[in-house]
């Protein structure tokens, strides 16, 4: 528990929540990053309805730049994971989050915040499979 950081965690969470609810109240959209990514990648198919996703992604990149300059420690150290795990993980995150209609933001923040039972089920399922995966990795691929 020596790495426990409840204050910065809550603070960051409040910012994420504020951004997400502002997205709903201002532009009427769900701030779910996996669907924003899919919409952004295929924005050319329905520009009118999807272009906002690209603007949000631009914002994520700009925010990332601010972090790099002012809070580089927020990215942690590099090269802690085996590359095959990162690559396979990326594939599964991309495919799974779209198949399940959401990820940590879409289901975890916006879905739970709208008291959606689909999102509650999704969060319980992906938390469990993620926890189990970490246990398997630690036990068998140390």
């Amino acid at each position: 528990m020596e790495n426990f950081t409840p204050i910065s965690s809550v603070l960051g969470g409040l910012l994420i929540g504020f951004s997400s609810i502002a997205m709903l109240l201002l532009s009427g959209r769900i701030a779910g990053i996996s669907s924003i990514l899919e919409n952004g990648l295929f924005a050319w198919k329905d520009v009118q309805n999807r272009i906002w996703s690209l603007w949000f992604i631009v914002g994520l990149f700009l925010g990332g730049e601010l972090l790099r300059v002012f809070m580089p420690e927020s990215f942690g150290g590099a090269h802690l994971h085996k590359m095959w795990m990162v690559v396979l993980g990326g594939l599964l995150v991309g495919f799974g989050s779209r198949l399940g209609s959401g990820c940590t933001s879409g289901h975890g923040v916006c879905g739970l915040g709208r008291l959606s039972s689909r999102s509650l089920v999704s969060v319980l399922v992906f938390m469990s499979s993620a926890g189990l995966t970490v246990w398997v990795v630690r036990s068998f691929f140390p």
């Binding site: 969470g13 929540g17 009427g28 590099a78 990326g90 209609s101 923040v109 993620a130």
Partner: protein, 145 residues
């Protein structure tokens, strides 16, 4: 134009929230998911904080609006059934999250660090989304036929 600018700004805030809470640090995320090991419960506070703000806005401000302030209607998901796609997709997403320590938002934000793992993660995540997109289009075409 003002609407696009606001959306960029919300993206910046979102990214800062992820950074301040260290969701952008895969080791921190793995520490949270490692319940049976040296568990770090911090990230539960991220989700709880974010969800609480969202819930308050959704319960107290959202019902007063007939349409969003900068759009002509709300675009909310209309799915209600807990189906196989939801469960299977969530299982797969969780495995990927546990393997890499990244979920989609933090992965995109961490590109700024130029860490190799963030770059590889995002490229393969994009491939995963594209595979789903093509697969689901084919699938829905078959359903229509």
């Amino acid at each position: 134009m003002i609407k696009n600018l606001i959306i960029v700004l919300l993206g910046v805030l979102f990214a800062l929230g992820l950074g301040i809470s260290q969701m952008t640090n895969p080791s921190k995320v793995i520490g949270f998911l490692d319940v049976t090991g040296n568990w770090d419960p911090s990230l539960a506070f991220v989700m709880a904080g974010a969800m609480t703000v969202y819930l308050i806005g959704y319960k107290f401000i959202f019902p007063k609006l007939t349409k969003p302030l900068l759009d002509f209607r709300f675009h909310l998901p209309n799915l209600i059934h807990i189906d196989k796609k939801l469960i299977l997709g969530s299982v797969i997403f969780g495995i990927g999250w546990g393997l890499s320590g990244f979920c989609p938002g933090p992965g995109l934000v961490a590109l700024a660090s130029s860490n190799l793992e963030a770059i590889y993660f995002v490229l393969s995540m994009i491939l995963g989304v594209a595979i789903y997109h093509w697969f689901s289009e084919e699938y829905s075409d078959m359903m229509d036929g």
